[in-house]
Amino acid sequence: MTSPDQIKKSYIDHVLTNGEAPKSVYNFAKSLKMSESDFYKIFSSFSMIEKKVWEDLTLQTLIKMKEQEIWPQYSSREKMLSFFYSYVEVLKTQRSFIIYTLKNHTKRLTTPEVLSDVKPLFENFSEDIINEGIDTGELAERKFISNRYKDALWVQFAFIINFWIDDDSAAFEKTDEAIERGINVSFDLFQKSPLDNLFEYGKFLSRNSKFREKMGI
């Protein structure tokens, strides 16, 4: 019996060698010396395989990253930076295939179908580290806004992947800069800022309006 991993490998190999997906599942299954129905037991379509590749690479990053001894000592900001640095390193191993899977996706503002399994993974991870940051006081808890933080990070995710796909600098050094800058900007916005204090101050003043009346202000 052919394992999912073997199917995945052969599929990637076929796509990269021929520049396109196999003509039919029948054809592809035959080349693997398996029956079409056996193939469907594992994957329902080729695009399922592509999704699986993304999902595996993402999971691999999340696992590898948390194995780092330093991981528990990182702040939320550093955890997110570390995720992206590891992620582009892992994606690099399948760069050609990754570019192939996104090639047909032209509407850049929507989430590509091939990433539909990656998105919840990333969002779970984001939510975990955002909550952690809020617990430690690193990030500001803001009504209605703080549960949208993860959406902002997903936008960053899409931006960084797009940047990396177009990056032609040596060793993708520019992508590293994009990560350092982008993630830092996001986290700068997530953390407590003078605006929060201003908001709090306004709340304080309105709550103590009686006192103000007495003072004749």
Partner: protein
């Protein structure tokens, strides 16, 4: 130290930073002149202080080559007003560090492993900034190591930084673009060399070997197998920086010993190797507990070609300058007198440069020299001030090699002055054919 969270890296972001500085400097001038309307006695010191502060702030946020330029400007104390110098000298020690994950990424890229897999311990918090990189402490097999990690994108941005810094250089030095270009190019070449850490490791090993016979000077061991284009691994050397060392109230004898080691280190290189460690800023040296001078950075090496070395150092050894024709010939070779200068110009530059070289070469003219004497430096600065005001010196003169040779020797003199050392100056004599 506060960790710097964002580094403006694209050219646009960097330009924005510089433009901001430009505005603020403009503002400072406005402030200065409007105050001056009411108080004519107001000194330029305050203005310079304001400007220096703004320039420094934007430079230190930019990091990399811009910071390097700040350092370089601060080396030439004789060219810049005091307030600039004080601010810029800060840049030799302080620059905010980069994020931990990026450090790990840099290691993974170079070695395929994170630093904790390579070393027994690795401290992700850098202990020191090194202008185009930062220094981390690690241990391996019981040995303490110093690891220099370069900021990503530094090499990329040097040329664009230099283009951006040019207008400020023109303003500070009062030169035109065309005149400055040849010098900027020399600086750019050296700066680009400095970003090549593999080259630095190679040179560090070469130079520490060549200088191994020097008394009282030590070098760290370098580990090429643990170094890459972005990372340098070397032994950690215990010791104090010059300022810390001086704060311990060392005896005059000890100060002379360290001063002598410095003098020998530089003059051995200049006259025996004809290539010199051209970055004599205090951050590159340590004084070890067993009273030795440790040299910990070979990023910037200036090679002295014969067609510069011979005419320049022939002026330094006694005798030649008594012969006017020979002196003028040397000045011509060094481009200090231009071919199209007329008679009175030749006479003028001959006199001025003779005065300068005599001052500069003073330490070579006796067997020992006391660098604690303020007169020597006052004379040097006074000469620098004087020529800065003379229209004849608005045009830069001299071959490009002067930049780094001057920087090296003035840097050395300044270090010796800070040490208040008396040194034997005849240990390594210029080799004139």
């Amino acid at each position: 130290m506060k960790t710097q969270e964002s580094m403006p890296t694209t050219k646009v972001a960097r330009s924005a930073k510089f433009i901001e500085t430009g505005f603020r400097i403009g503002g400072n001038y406005v402030k200065h002149f409007s105050k001056k309307l009411f108080n004519p006695d107001l000194s330029r010191e305050e203005l310079n202080e304001d400007n220096a502060e703004d320039i420094y702030n934007s430079l230190s946020e930019l990091k990399g080559s811009a910071l390097k330029i700040a350092q370089m400007l601060s080396m030439d104390k004789n060219v810049l007003p005091k307030a600039y110098v004080n601010k810029f000298t800060q840049s030799q020690y302080n620059a905010p560090p980069l994020s931990g994950p990026l450090i790990i990424k840099t290691f993974t890229k170079s070695f395929g492993k994170s630093p904790d897999k390579i070393f027994d311990t690795f401290n992700l918090n850098s202990i020191q900034a090194a202008s185009i990189g930062q220094v981390h402490v690690a241990t391996l097999n019981g040995k303490k190591l110093a690891i220099k990690v370069q900021y990503p994108g530094v090499a990329d941005s040097i040329s664009s930084d230099l283009k951006l810094v040019k207008p400020f250089a023109f303003r500070l030095l009062g030169m035109s673009e065309k005149e400055l270009n040849i010098y900027i190019k020399e600086v750019e070449e050296r700066l680009l060399e400095e970003t090549d850490y593999q080259l630095e490791v190679r040179r560090s090993i070469e130079f520490s070997k060549a200088c191994s016979n020097l008394k009282n000077t030590v070098f760290p061991v370098y580990y090429p197998e643990l170094s890459s284009g972005k990372i340098i691994t070397m032994d950690w050397i215990e010791g104090l920086h010059l300022k810390e060392f001086l704060a311990t109230n060392p005896s005059q004898k000890l100060k002379n010993k360290i001063g002598q080691a410095l003098w020998d280190f530089y003059n051995f290189q200049q006259h025996e190797l004809k290539a010199v460690h051209a970055d004599p800023h205090p951050g590159n040296f340590l004084i070890t507990p067993d009273e030795k001078l440790a040299v910990i950075d070979f990023g910037c090496i200036k090679e002295l070609p014969e067609n510069f070395y011979q005419p320049f150092f022939s002026l330094v050894v006694p005798g030649l300058m008594d012969d006017k024709a020979k002196t003028i010939k040397a000045f011509r070779e060094l481009d200090m007198i231009h071919p199209d200068d007329n008679k009175s110009q030749i006479e003028f530059y001959y006199k001025s440069y003779k005065e300068m070289i005599s001052l500069f070469a003073l330490p070579y003219r006796s067997k020992t020299f006391d660098f604690s004497k303020p007169e020597f430096f006052e004379n040097l600065y006074a000469w620098g001030d004087k020529i800065a005001k003379m229209p004849e010196f608005k045009q830069p003169r001299g071959v490009k090699h002067f930049i780094y040779v001057n920087r090296t020797n003035f840097g050395l003199y300044t270090l010796l002055n800070e040490l208040q050392a008396t040194v034997k100056t005849d240990t390594f004599q210029p080799k004139i054919n």
